[in-house]
């Protein structure tokens, strides 16, 4: 990294303002850097441009002064704590001093996943290097930040991730005070091994999300609820950790079948907005294999298979089978909360979020039981608020060290 600390001279409140202003520009779908990034992402990942636009809207519309401020205040007590000693009720005054060097490694390809940690690290006045895959989203966004204030040109850098193997990457990881990493287990292990002994390592592994319909929910399942569920399952073709990967319903066979009817019709409708993208031969073979086994089962009177809008809904999927984790494939499994918890335990599923109709105490208790870090109403599963704890971790607290003074 070149000279560090370029943002330290700026009050955190101003940094928040610059970030929010840049995000506002990015909220405009016709903003030239965004148009370029949209094309690049669509080309690389194979999503349609409306889907990429949808993802970018959700990302940038959420980055506002208020949301950034609220997240920081909720974790640090005040924004001013990032600037210097700040009084704290019943505790010593303290300065939430940002780390010098933060590296964010996005070894996988989720759209814009590196941007939220990067902007919180910048708000904490850290120097940030984002190691990203080949599209230009982060670099373009950092370019917009630099237009807001030249200090960002020194403080925020985006580079291509090459797997941590070359000297430059090894040095970056070894010198970083904080390393945020997104990836599969083996990638996270490899990155962690390259970090300094005292570096703070913040891993975000690949996870799955589940949904639960109570017996009452099943009875009340209507088109609107079914469309919200379908949206959670089909958006990004189920590629996200917040995508709905399996849906449990506390229902007997007849009620389950009825739910399948309503859901499949909703899948058809939602697929108009989020059409299926062509998948590669390997994924197509896996989907076909899963669907054909379900069809084989259905022919013998066990469950049903629906195909709607390029997606597959398997009704009565067996609990002894793990979630298929395939694009646009949703198993609907019969079972109550206990069955869902047993399913998660049996298959050792790392759960990210639980989708429900009502995030009440019972839902939160179930989430705690299955290790989920987010409970969300159907339809909002893939729309986490900026002020929430991503992956159960704080947004900004990982990027600072407290300096107490009496």
């Amino acid at each position: 990294m070149p000279e560090i600390g370029a943002l330290r001279a700026l009050p955190a409140k101003r940094i928040i303002g610059f970030v929010a202003d840049a995000a506002e520009r990015w909220s405009d779908a016709d903003y030239a850097p965004r148009v370029r990034a949209t094309h690049a992402i669509a080309r690389r990942l194979g999503y349609s441009e409306p889907v990429v636009d949808y993802a970018l809207d959700r990302l940038f519309f959420g980055i506002t002064r208020d949301a950034l401020t609220a997240a920081i205040v909720s974790e640090l007590g005040s924004v001013e704590a990032l600037d210097g000693l700040a009084p704290r009720a019943g505790a010593p005054a303290a300065w939430a001093r940002g780390a010098d060097r933060v590296v964010v490694v996005s070894s996988d390809t989720t759209i814009g996943v590196a941007i939220p940690p990067a902007i919180f690290a910048l708000c904490a006045k850290c120097d940030v290097v984002v190691k990203d895959r080949s599209d230009a989203l982060v670099a373009e966004f950092f370019g917009s930040l630099a237009e807001e204030h030249p200090a960002f040109a020194s403080a925020a850098h985006a580079r291509a991730w090459r797997g941590g193997e070359d000297d430059d990457e090894a040095r970056l990881l070894a010198e970083a005070d904080v390393v945020v990493a997104f990836g599969r287990d083996e990638a996270l292990r490899a990155i962690r091994d390259r970090c300094g002994a005292e570096a703070r390592f913040v891993p975000y592994g690949h996870r799955a999300s589940l949904g639960r319909l109570s017996a009452r929910d099943v009875g009340e399942l209507d088109d609107a609820l079914a469309e919200r569920i379908a949206r959670d399952a089909l958006l990004y073709d189920g590629d996200g950790c917040l995508s709905l990967h399996a849906l449990f319903a506390d229902a007997d066979a007849a009620a389950l079948q009825r739910a399948g009817d309503v859901l499949s019709a909703a899948f058809e409708r939602v697929s108009v907005e989020f059409p299926a993208e062509p998948c590669d031969a390997a994924a197509a073979a896996r989907v076909a294999a899963y669907r054909n086994v379900a069809a084989f089962r259905a022919a013998s009177g066990r469950g049903a298979v629906y195909r709607a809008g390029g997606s597959t809904l398997v009704v009565g999927a067996p609990r002894e089978e793990p979630p298929p984790l395939l694009p646009r494939v949703l198993p609907l499994v019969a079972g109550d909360d206990g069955a869902l918890a047993a399913y998660v335990a049996e298959h050792r599923i790392p759960v990210q979020a639980l989708g429900v109709t009502d995030p009440d105490d019972a839902a939160v208790a179930l989430a705690a039981r299955i290790g989920a870090v987010r409970v969300a109403p159907f339809g909002a599963l893939q729309d986490p608020p900026l002020g929430g704890h991503h992956g159960g971790a704080p947004r900004v607290a990982d990027f600072i060290r407290w300096i107490d003074a009496r």
């Binding site: 599969r184 287990d185 995508s243 994924a283 054909n292 793990p322």
Partner: protein, 361 residues
């Protein structure tokens, strides 16, 4: 409709002749299909669901309803009652955690099919070889189809006693070195039958000891299987180059077999493609046909990559058409297989099936 004995006689005749033209293949396949749906209720139900029954038989080979290989894990797919099972082979249990079974009421077809193909693909020179087995020992794993197959080959085509050198999950490297030395002393060519994983283990051990083994002239390697469930994966090019170097063979003497527990017949590298390591073309015996299909199960033309479906007429006692997740493309003279890892990169942060499997291992 034909009874088992009549069908077996026709299948054995095709195996014996090592020939079956398209018309005869289709006729036998239709009769076999009719036989199977009359006796195999889950297959009959599946066939009915896609529009076929005794009154409406598939018009083309591509139309024969294919059973996904994973269905063997959930259903008993046999045309005979359980008490008539004389042998069964166990599939891997990696997908849903439990193995499947391929049951046989007789091993006659299985043995005839495997020997006829092995003769032509590995023993075209008529050699009587000594067999060094780096595959499961049937005395330890009686339900391994690979162990069964090689036991039959060694018994029927070997020059004497076979050496079984893979026990549990451990390779008997000293035993292999002893056998190699004995073969050299006796001047008898060897066939090393091995899984890819065991071959890697052998080569690693030889390298660790700084050894190279010169197998007698005429020796060969039959390699099968990939690295499913293993933590280390090497490329076929690397594996074959190392094997040739350490065993004193040409890479053309290393022949890959491609089979699966749910089938009764095997593919081998076409002799004409053995001069190179990749791509090698797999060829099937006349009673086994590969079809490459898209995600909708539609047959794809040559050269287009899709999932491989097998129509195996030697599968008289189970189901003749089996769908797999293996990727491949038809070429003029056979099938080119592609690894399952040929898919595009992961697009998101969702857990994937392989990672979940690794967590459960």
């Amino acid at each position: 409709m034909s009874g088992a004995a009549a069908l077996d006689a026709r299948i054995l005749a095709a195996i014996g002749a090592y020939a079956l033209d398209d018309r005869a293949f289709l006729a036998l396949a239709r009769d076999l299909f009719a036989y199977q749906i009359a006796r195999n209720p889950p297959y009959a139900a599946f066939a009915r669901a896609v529009g076929y029954d005794a009154a409406r038989l598939p018009a083309r080979i591509e139309d024969i309803p294919a059973v996904p290989s994973a269905a063997f894990k959930e259903f008993r797919l046999a045309t005979f009652p359980p008490d008539e099972t004389t042998a069964w082979f166990e599939t891997s249990g990696t997908t849903v955690g439990r193995p499947g079974r391929h049951e046989l009421d007789t091993t006659r077809l299985y043995e005839a099919a495997l020997l006829a193909t092995f003769d032509r693909m590995l023993l075209a020179d008529g050699a009587r070889l000594r067999y060094c087995m780096l595959v499961p020992d049937p005395r330890e794993r009686p339900h391994s189809s690979l162990g069964f197959m090689m036991d039959v080959v060694a018994r029927e085509r070997g020059e004497g006693e076979a050496a079984w050198l893979f026990h549990g999950d451990a390779l008997d490297v000293d035993g292999f070195l002893r056998e190699a030395a004995r073969a050299r002393a006796d001047g008898v060519a060897v066939c090393v039958a091995t899984t890819a994983f065991a071959l890697v283990a052998l080569l690693d051990a030889l390298e660790e000891r700084g050894l190279r083994v010169a197998l007698p002239a005429g020796s060969r390697v039959m390699e099968t299987g990939g690295f499913k469930g293993r933590t280390r994966v090497v490329t076929r090019a690397e594996l074959y180059a190392r094997a040739a170097d350490h065993l004193g063979l040409s890479t053309a003497a290393i022949v890959a077999e491609y089979g699966m527990t749910e089938l009764s017949s095997q593919y081998y590298d076409a002799p004409g493609s053995r001069a190179r390591i990749e791509p090698r073309v797999k060829i099937a015996p006349p009673w086994l046909r590969p079809i490459v299909v898209d995600g909708e199960g539609r047959a794809l033309p040559p050269g287009v990559v899709g999932a491989v479906r097998h129509v195996d007429l030697a599968n008289r006692g189970s189901v003749l058409a089996v769908d797999t997740e293996d990727l491949g493309a038809l070429v003029d003279d056979g099938l080119v297989l592609l690894g399952r890892e040929q898919g595009a990169e992961l697009r998101g942060c969702s857990l994937d099936a392989e990672s979940l499997l690794a967590r459960r291992a």
